[in-house]
Symmetry: D2
Subunit: 260 residues, 4 copies
């Protein structure tokens, strides 16, 4: 099935985007990413050497920009200013690379996004010519503002970064997806394969994850699971699922009157 | 990864078992089943011609016993006696085939299993030399009784046949899986891909479904989704998922004190 | 509001039934039960002295049969025979008292009901003139069999005894409630006030609990909470809740197509 | 039990706050509010005559400020400017009343809060001497900003206004409650009694609702249900619930490894 995914003018076939943090070593990183089938790999510029520190191991030697679309991100930034500065650094290091993943977090404890700073940073970055994929909370109004502003993708959370709680609020995500004018990718919260499938079944264009793979008992095997789960969820979305009923012979789908 | 699945002394590689009901026509049936990758195909002997009615289209011409392990089932039986009789007929039609899926239902409205009749039928069938895979409710005590009795697999429901409600009671299934001495397959209730993944992530040996594929908008595509979802869930189970936490920096996993 | 509840020919006003186990001492037991407003108090005959051991503290001195309807139960019985014997003993001790709560459990680990033994014991007890309220799993077919057999109330679990997991399978309970010809009370599983409310909102005639009160940090306060929660849930059921919608302006209720 | 609730320097005993919209007529409004036991009643200044239109029925004739604390709100405002203007009007109409409930919505379709405009309006209103209770999304960073700014209470949603979906994201609410320096009340989303209990069990200081009562089949009865549910949930919170376990004999609470 041809089911390409258009992002910032480029065509991708994998709808699973992965990070590079928390692995045991660079070999495991490379193997897990290969097993995930990801085409877009996000890199925390503040934590990863992609050339800033010459002479030290460079992630790009293992995750080659020839093979992968490198997506620099601003993890570890807690203000618009820091995030903007980090993106500029990434652009320099990556030969005028314009595609970035913006995240501005609210605090170190929860890693919840700081939305006012995120909006501010997005505005600046877009003015400076960046193609901004933006990590955000699951606020439909914020998602719309970010799309209108010119972000190339909005990336609401399923649940908190590193929580593994999965898709906590499918209702907000459904509203965001119904209204979307740019690709919506679910970023953060996935804990296991079924979570990734749920995200795709809601109609997301893709899913980004890191901890769920890197912190699994067997990361490379989990990467393979996630590859299949994202494809499964995407195909299930396109295949249009059967209705949910109290029992098969019920004349109408469950209407949610009495149930969660 | 070699992850074979042993059932009644035979080795299988696919952990997705599928039915043959509710398809538009035999071509769609064959295509969906091929796309599902299933090796075991269950057939409702009371509703499907597998030789009882010579001269009419025979499902086995499309779903060949050379390629698939045919699993006759007793769908449509509401008493132990009917179910036993149906299994005997299947054995005759299928050249002394011993592997059957027993289901004795409680009523036509809900299709919930009738457990007293199921227990009775299982006992008789085992005495007669059948290898009984048994559809049952998610009662851990019943599951244990059926395994002790000699059933080759127990197949508790995720939710009601044809409901599409997914895995409603993961707690009971987890207890059944913890105690299991024979393979446990989740049978009934799967509505979409993530449901199948959830079933496998709980540690089930496999999943059996029919309506979720046949009643999807695009059955062949949904069959492919389910193939991937079952594999994804299995791999995620083996890969050992990350813990669930309120936030990444929490020192311990969520303990369920305050949450559903 | 007059909303009496008819059970075995008697009228009750409280729909909260409570147990007497696991309290610190008899004073706490009495205070918590008073705070719960319960009219029916269930007593585990095998664990509680209601006269079997003369000279020892007798629960009935604290929980007086003049004030409460004492409901002897067969907790701790693992076979029909034990349960029947226990009920006979209770009848003797309580002056030909006929109302009993039958429970036959499957094992000490899970305390899940053993349904075949439960059915057997119910049959015998009814023949012997007992009024049997029967603890059972959430199997709609079993619930129907027990009602047809002549049980005066069926008491399916919300989740396992002592688990505090609440109402895990509202779908099965809804089917049981839709079909019910005798009062249905939810017995076991309630962990906190909202669980009791959920049970009543489904349309249950009442709720029975013990651990949720006795094992709370402050049992007497929790007993008060449960009294209010059961009343709240009952009133909400009668008041007919608003529909669930994706958002207020949606033209139709949520149909459960994409959501759990 | 004395369990008073301090808000903006005043003491309240009821933790249920109610609105006045969507009732059949003023009599029903008055009866439902009386049944709810609410001490604080919120009024949409843009939709309700509280004196703006002399000669027309005035809500305050029915819901007397002598008996209730009137809480003017800015429902129907879609910008900071409109909201500020509405609060000023309310102050005038209500004799220099300073306590207001600020809400700035994102659109008429979803009624989701517009957080950037909400933050702006809160800032202005606080400068002008208002005591601002602020309706907001369930964003822990936004909640913290609003408290730091000087709002007297933050009021995150359980789910969308008028949706009846209950408490969709207990995790975010728990984080907000853990960090709170001002009272946190859950505003919006409650559909039935158990939802209100869940909100209180999470530790909320109170719950505000309108549609769940006004759009029930029997609003006055539902108001009574909600009164009890809020009290039940509060008491259950204070009473400290039992742990959730897979089964009673499990040595540790459920750790959420495999379950939702």
């Amino acid at each position: 099935m041809s089911d390409a995914f258009l992002l910032a003018g480029r065509t991708f076939h994998s709808r699973l985007l992965v990070g590079t943090g928390k692995y045991k070593d660079m070999t495991e990183t490379a193997e897990a990413i290969a097993a995930s089938g990801a085409e877009i790999v996000t890199v925390a510029v503040r934590r990863t050497n992609i050339g800033q520190t010459p002479g030290e191991p460079n992630l790009l030697d293992v995750i080659s920009p020839d093979r992968y679309t490198i997506l620099p991100n601003t993890a570890g930034c807690y203000s618009a200013e820091e995030a903007v500065r980090t993106c500029r650094l990434a652009r320099e290091l990556l030969d005028d690379h314009k595609l970035v993943k913006l995240e501005v977090l609210g605090d170190q404890k929860t890693l919840y996004p700081n939305m006012p700073e995120t909006l501010k940073a997005a505005e600046t970055l877009i003015k400076e010519g960046f193609e901004v994929m933006v990590y955000c909370n699951d606020d439909p109004i914020a998602a719309r503002l970010l799309a209108e502003m010119g972000c190339v993708a909005v990336m609401p959370l399923g649940s908190l970064i590193g929580s593994g709680l999965g898709i906590v609020n499918p209702y907000n995500l459904r509203i965001i997806l119904e209204e979307a004018t740019v690709p919506v990718l679910i970023d953060a919260g996935v804990g296991t394969a079924s979570d990734a499938a749920v995200a795709m079944e809601l109609g997301a264009a893709g899913v980004l994850m890191n901890t769920a793979i890197a912190a699994a008992g067997k990361p490379v095997l989990m990467a393979s699971a996630m590859k299949k789960a994202v494809e499964a969820g995407r195909e299930a979305f396109l295949a249009e699922r059967m209705p949910r009923k109290l029992y098969a012979s019920a004349s109408s789908p469950l209407d949610g009157m009495a149930f969660r």
